[in-house]
C-alpha cells in the first residue's frame, strides 16, 4: 500500500469539504483508481464529473496515468484562468 496526496480546488474543494487529503492504495495505481477511492472517502465528491481533469506532480495528465507512492494528485475543476 502507498500513500498518495490528493488536492481539491475551487468547487471541488467545496464538494470534498477540504482542500487536501491523502488516500492509501496499492501503488502503482492510476489517477482513475485514486479518484474512485476519493469518491468512497468523500461522499460529496460523488458529484464530480465522471472524468474530471487531473494533474500529477504539477502536470496535467490523463486518467490512466500512473500514480506512485508520495505523488500529489490534484483534481481540477474546468480551468478558467485569464
Amino acid at each position: 500500500m502507498g500513500k498518495v496526496s490528493v488536492r481539491f480546488f475551487a468547487r471541488y474543494a467545496e464538494l470534498a469539504g477540504c482542500t487536501w487529503s491523502a488516500v492509501n492504495l496499492e501503488t502503482p495505481a492510476t489517477v482513475a483508481d485514486v479518484i474512485a477511492q476519493v469518491r468512497e472517502v468523500f461522499p460529496g465528491t460523488k458529484a464530480l464529473p465522471p472524468q474530471p481533469l487531473a494533474a500529477v506532480n504539477l502536470r496535467q495528465v490523463r486518467l490512466d496515468a500512473l500514480v506512485n507512492e508520495g505523488d500529489e494528485v490534484a483534481l481540477l475543476p474546468p480551468l478558467a484562468g485569464g
Binding site: F9, R11, A55, L58, R59, P78, L79, A80, G81
Partner: protein
C-alpha cells in the same frame, strides 16, 4: 518578476521586462474583469505551484518558437473589482508579426492550461463559480 500576484498589475513592469533595443515591436494584452450582469468583482484562486510551473512552461515554449522575442506575463489572484486587470502579457520582438503571434500564443495557452478558477461576486451577495463550459453553480450570500 513573480508570475502570480495579489496586487494590481502594472503593465509598465512587464514592458520593462521585455523591452530591448533589438526588439522594435511590442504587443500588450490585458484581460479585465467585465461588469456582466450585476457582477461587482471576481475572486480568482489557483493551484499556485502548478500555475507557476505551467506559466514557466508556456513562456519557455514561446521562447523556443520565437527565439528573438521576449514574453512576460502576470496573473492576479484574489478579489479583483470590475474594471481591473486579471492578466497582463507583454511580448516584444524585432518585428510586430512575431510580437503579436507570441502574445496570442501565450494567452491561448493560458486559457487552456492554467489551473486558475473564478468565482463571480454580485451586488446581491450571491456568488457563482465560472465554468467555461457554460454551467454555473450559484451560492447564496
Amino acid at each position: 518578476m513573480m508570475h502570480l500576484t495579489r496586487h494590481p498589475l502594472d503593465v509598465n513592469d512587464l514592458l520593462a521586462a521585455v523591452h530591448g533595443p533589438e526588439r522594435g515591436g511590442t504587443c500588450v494584452f490585458t484581460g479585465t474583469v467585465r461588469n456582466d450582469g450585476d457582477v461587482t468583482g471576481i475572486e480568482y484562486s489557483a493551484y499556485e505551484a502548478m500555475a507557476f510551473a505551467e506559466i514557466e512552461r508556456i513562456l519557455g515554449e514561446a521562447q523556443a518558437q520565437w527565439t528573438d522575442a521576449r514574453v512576460m506575463l502576470q496573473h492576479r489572484l484574489g478579489l479583483i473589482p470590475v474594471g481591473e486587470a486579471s492578466i497582463a502579457i507583454a511580448a516584444a520582438a524585432p518585428h510586430r508579426d512575431d510580437a503579436f503571434r507570441a502574445c496570442r500564443f501565450v494567452i491561448e495557452e493560458v486559457k487552456k492550461r492554467l489551473p486558475i478558477w473564478k468565482k463571480e461576486c454580485r451586488a446581491d451577495g450571491t456568488t457563482s463559480w465560472v465554468d467555461p463550459s457554460g454551467k454555473a453553480v450559484t451560492h447564496g450570500p
